[in-house]
Structures are given as structure tokens and as C-alpha cells.
């Protein structure tokens, strides 16, 4: 089995696994980090160390990191929390969000929910309106397009840094100061960017930024939301309870998970450049090899468009998607995101880029990782080429 689905999730890095063990072992540091006794303080110290490690990768302060159960929760918290906080203010006009059609489902679904429900508040509900920007065929939504969509009611822009299906890098670093100037909040889903690209929130005035550990060789089920302190981004909590995490997110802190995320982000910081070189190099090699096939199209990117090093999305003309995937059982790849692959619908991201249903369906997302080898790539490319050729030959419609 060749695993090329690192964008869906990664294995634990061995260093992360080792870091977690002392907090998982039956005889380890297991106390509740909120407990005020020796073992509790010890757990708390581990949580705070991890907070600093996560902050360090993105140029933030530890106090700006709020633990969540993953980027899905971070995105939900950022959007709902910011709108609800603002909704509590007297002004009762519509709240407006600008986002793009190629965001992750958890952003889009949250937006749709907000559109449908509005935001509740003491003074009754407040309606929410959302603009879903259509990217160009290359996958990019330019800062200028975002600015053009702003209205006086726009409270927040949500734009992902790196798209999880095609890897396109949005120009959030250029966008951020423009929005800051205009007093509009910027939320960035960086689940696929962290550990792949340098991120420095000390220089880039993003207000809210979502992170997930399991995309960065950390454990599944833990994530974080960066909430800027200066100027302070204000949120209403979405999980109520004991008032953990400065009141922004209640629930017992999962020490081993948090320690794992910290270790993963620490490793990512150390290895960032080496990882990018290694993974990006193999990704480019894979794309070169696949071009031995006629009529293959790379999805996203193009002249002057940055693509994250771990992603390659290719459409294969003349083959049907389900058979393509079924013909590659030794290859763990994905069509679209893991979330939507169960539904077998063609990727909404590729369709937003203008691909027709058929071609969107006949696409594979290859995502590479730390453990990927040149031999993996060679073998994967060989299999794909062989199977695409075979399926094309089998097709009564194919004319080479």
C-alpha cells in the first residue's frame, strides 16, 4: 500500500509519539490539568509548554492559542463566535461574511447555517448574509476580489491559506493588512498551511487562524484557534462550561493530545524547510511522470500561483472516476477531501474551478508526506499510468 493521502490525515511522527507516551501511559502524567494539586500542576505545565510550541510555529504568543478538538471546531468557533459577539452589540443590521466557494466544508456549512439561522442575541436574532466568491480557474481569489465584495456590513472575511484539494495558496499575507485597514476581521483556515509554509502572525495581521494537529503528524482530535490579543479579537464561546481556555472553550484539556500537537508543531518548525524541499521535490517528480500520459490536467495553480508542496490534483480525461479509484487499490489517494469522498459526488472545489462533472470525477488528489519516498512515487506513477491506459483502452469512447 502506498499512502498518498497526507492531506486527509498523517501518521504520528515518531517524535510526537514518544512525546505523548508519558502522558498516556497508565502510570504517566494523567491528572486533570485543571486540578490544583501536584499532578494537576504537572499536567498543566505540559499543556502550557505545548501552547508555546504551537504559538512558535506561527509567530504567535502562547496566550493567543485556544485548544479545540480540531480545525472543524476552530472554524465553527471563529465564525459563530465572532458573529455572536458582534451580534450582541446594539446595531441590529445584517452581518455580512465574505468567503470563497472553495473553502473547506466546515466553513461553508457554518456559513450556510448562519445564513439560515441568523445570530441569536438578547435583542432577538440578527440576519447573516454570506458572499461566496468564485475563484478563477487557477483556484485563486485575489485580495482585490475580496475588497470588491466588502460592504459596510461586512464583519468578517474567511479565506483558507492553502486549499485542501488543490493546494493553491491564497495571498492572505497581502490581504490581511488591507482588511485590518478597513476594520474587517480576517479568519484564515490554516489547517493545510501550518507546517507547509512559513507563517508569521507577528507580521501578518490575521485575527483568527484555525489549526489542526493531525495534518501535521500530530494526533487526530485536537486543534487550536489563534485568537489575536493585540488588537483583541473577541469571540463568544461555543462550548460552555467550566470556563477553560480564558472562557473561550470549556471542556477538560486532553493533555496527551495537546502535548502531541505541541510536539508536532515543534517538529514542523524545525523541519519546515527540509520537509518542503523533500515533499515538494517528490510532488514535482510525480507530476512530471504523470505527464507521460496524454490528456491529463493539473487542477489549480499556473503561472505565478503558489501551490503547497504536498498537494497534486490531476484530472484524467477519458476515464470514469469510480473505476479509476477502484483500479488502484494499492494506492491510498483521495478524490476530493476525505469528508466528501463518502458521498461520491464530484468535488465542489474542482467544479468551482470550472471543471465539468465528468472531469471533476475523474480526478485524483495525491498528497505527499514526510515518509514518502522516491520509490513510492515511481511505483505510484507507474500504477496510475498503467491503469489509466487500461481504462482508456477499455472505453468505447476513447480515441487516442
Amino acid at each position: 500500500m502506498i499512502y498518498l493521502d497526507y492531506a486527509a490525515t498523517t501518521p504520528l511522527d515518531a517524535r510526537v509519539f514518544e512525546a505523548m507516551l508519558p502522558y498516556l501511559r497508565p502510570d504517566g502524567v494523567f491528572a486533570n490539568p485543571a486540578s490544583t494539586h501536584g499532578p494537576g500542576f504537572k499536567a498543566r505545565a505540559a499543556v502550557e509548554k505545548a501552547r508555546a510550541q504551537v504559538a512558535a510555529l506561527i509567530g504567535a504568543e502562547p496566550g493567543e492559542i485556544v485548544w479545540t478538538s480540531g480545525a472543524t471546531e476552530s472554524n465553527n468557533l471563529a465564525l459563530k463566535g465572532a458573529l455572536e459577539f458582534r451580534g450582541a452589540a446594539p446595531a441590529s443590521k445584517t452581518l455580512h461574511i465574505v468567503t470563497s466557494r472553495t473553502e473547506h466544508k466546515c466553513v461553508l456549512d457554518t456559513c450556510r447555517y448562519l445564513e439560515a439561522q441568523g445570530v441569536s442575541g438578547r435583542s432577538g436574532g440578527q440576519p447573516v448574509r454570506v458572499t461566496y466568491l468564485k475563484p478563477s480557474a487557477n483556484g485563486v481569489v485575489t485580495p482585490e476580489e475580496v475588497l470588491a465584495a466588502l460592504t459596510p456590513e461586512t464583519l468578517l472575511v474567511s479565506l483558507m491559506w492553502v486549499n485542501n484539494e488543490i493546494g493553491v495558496v491564497q495571498e492572505v499575507e497581502r490581504l490581511a493588512p488591507m482588511l485590518r485597514e478597513r476594520g474587517v476581521l480576517l479568519h484564515v483556515d490554516a489547517a493545510q498551511a501550518a507546517g507547509k509554509l512559513p507563517i508569521d502572525l507577528g507580521r501578518t495581521p490575521i485575527d483568527l487562524l484555525s489549526l489542526s494537529a493531525h495534518k501535521v503528524y500530530g494526533p487526530k482530535g485536537i486543534g487550536a484557534l489563534f485568537v489575536r490579543r493585540r488588537p483583541r479579537a473577541r469571540l463568544n464561546p461555543q462550548m460552555h462550561g467550566g470556563g477553560h481556555e480564558q472562557g473561550m472553550r470549556s471542556g477538560t484539556l486532553a493533555t496527551h493530545q495537546i502535548v502531541g500537537m505541541g510536539a508536532a508543531f515543534d517538529v514542523a518548525r524545525t523541519d519546515l524547510a527540509a520537509d518542503a524541499a523533500h515533499i515538494g521535490g517528490l510532488r514535482d517528480a510525480l507530476w512530471s511522470r504523470l505527464q507521460a500520459l496524454p490528456r491529463v490536467q493539473r487542477n489549480g495553480g499556473g503561472e505565478g500561483i503558489a501551490i503547497a508542496p504536498h498537494l497534486l490534483n490531476v484530472s484524467f480525461e477519458g476515464v470514469e472516476g469510480e473505476s479509476l479509484r477502484a483500479s488502484l487499490p494499492e494506492l491510498a489517494v483521495s478524490s476530493g477531501s476525505a469528508c466528501s469522498s463518502a458521498t461520491q459526488e464530484p468535488s465542489y472545489v474542482l467544479r468551482a474551478l470550472g471543471r465539468d462533472d465528468e472531469l471533476a470525477n475523474a480526478s485524483l488528489r495525491f498528497s505527499l508526506g514526510r515518509a514518502t519516498t522516491a520509490a513510492d512515487i515511481e511505483r505510484a506513477a507507474g500504477l496510475v499510468i498503467q491503469q489509466v491506459q487500461w481504462l482508456r483502452e477499455l472505453s468505447p469512447l476513447w480515441a487516442a
Partner: protein
């Protein structure tokens, strides 16, 4: 997987998608895929399905003395539709046109264990056989 000469056991192992065994087996190693050389004597074709529906099946049967002596199929579509093509050719060999007319959708679905949500693949197979039979009628081989 025409190109991968896998053993049955290995094939099973590599069917993670929960296709039925008869579908997976025919999809993985379809016999008689392809088409006859142009001008091969006694060959009649039938096609069904549309590219828009992402399913097209083309059957070719070679009649010798009123009976199917050999056959080929081509398919564009999901593994089930490919398996339908492979099975139909296999099933057709040795039969007369009249016998082909007796194709039972129930048998086709039963043999390949085609679930309800893929019933259309079986129907496409039947359509292809019917199209072939009407060409056979015309060509009066």
C-alpha cells in the same frame, strides 16, 4: 486491472470497496475486453448508455453458424458496468440469437450481486444486448 496479473487471494485483499466478489473479479481481470479487428467476419455490435450518465457499454459478438463463437466488450463507467460487459460476453458465448433474447435481468443482477443503487448498470447491459440483437436482425448474418 488488465495489467496486473494478481492471484485471486491478493485480488480479494485489494478489494477494499466492498464490491461483490463476482463484480470485483470481473473488474479486476476482465476476459475478452477490447474489440475485434475491423472487418472480422460475423461480428455484430450493440451499444448502450451515454457519456453524460458516465456509463457506456459496447458489446461485439461473433456469430458462426447462428451461434456466438466469441465476443468482446468495451466499457466506460463504474466497476459494475465493466463487470456487466464482461459477464454478458461470457454468458453469450455458445448461445443463439433467440437464446440471447432470453436474457434475464434478474439472473444478471443475481449472478453479479448488483445492488439496487446500481440496477441501472444491469439495465444498460440489457439495452446493449437488445441493440446488438436489432443490428443482428438487420445484418441477417
Amino acid at each position: 486491472m488488465g495489467g496486473l496479473n494478481m492471484e485471486a487471494a491478493e485480488m480479494e485483499m485489494t478489494n477494499p470497496f466492498a464490491y461483490s466478489a463476482p463484480i470485483w473479479q470481473r473488474f479486476s481481470a476482465p476476459f475478452r475486453a477490447g474489440r475485434f479487428a475491423d472487418g472480422t467476419a460475423g461480428v455484430v455490435s450493440g451499444q448502450a448508455g451515454t457519456p453524460a450518465a458516465r456509463s457506456v457499454l459496447k458489446l461485439q459478438l461473433q456469430f458462426v453458424a447462428g451461434r456466438v463463437a466469441d465476443g468482446r466488450f468495451q466499457a466506460y463507467g463504474c466497476p459494475t458496468s465493466i463487470a456487466v460487459g464482461a459477464w454478458l460476453v461470457e454468458w453469450a458465448i455458445g448461445k443463439s440469437a433467440a437464446e440471447l433474447r432470453g436474457l434475464s435481468l434478474a439472473e444478471l443482477r443475481g449472478t453479479l450481486e448488483i445492488a439496487d443503487d446500481r440496477a441501472h448498470c444491469a439495465v444498460m447491459g440489457e439495452d446493449a444486448v437488445l441493440a446488438l440483437l436489432s443490428q443482428y436482425q438487420e445484418s441477417r448474418i
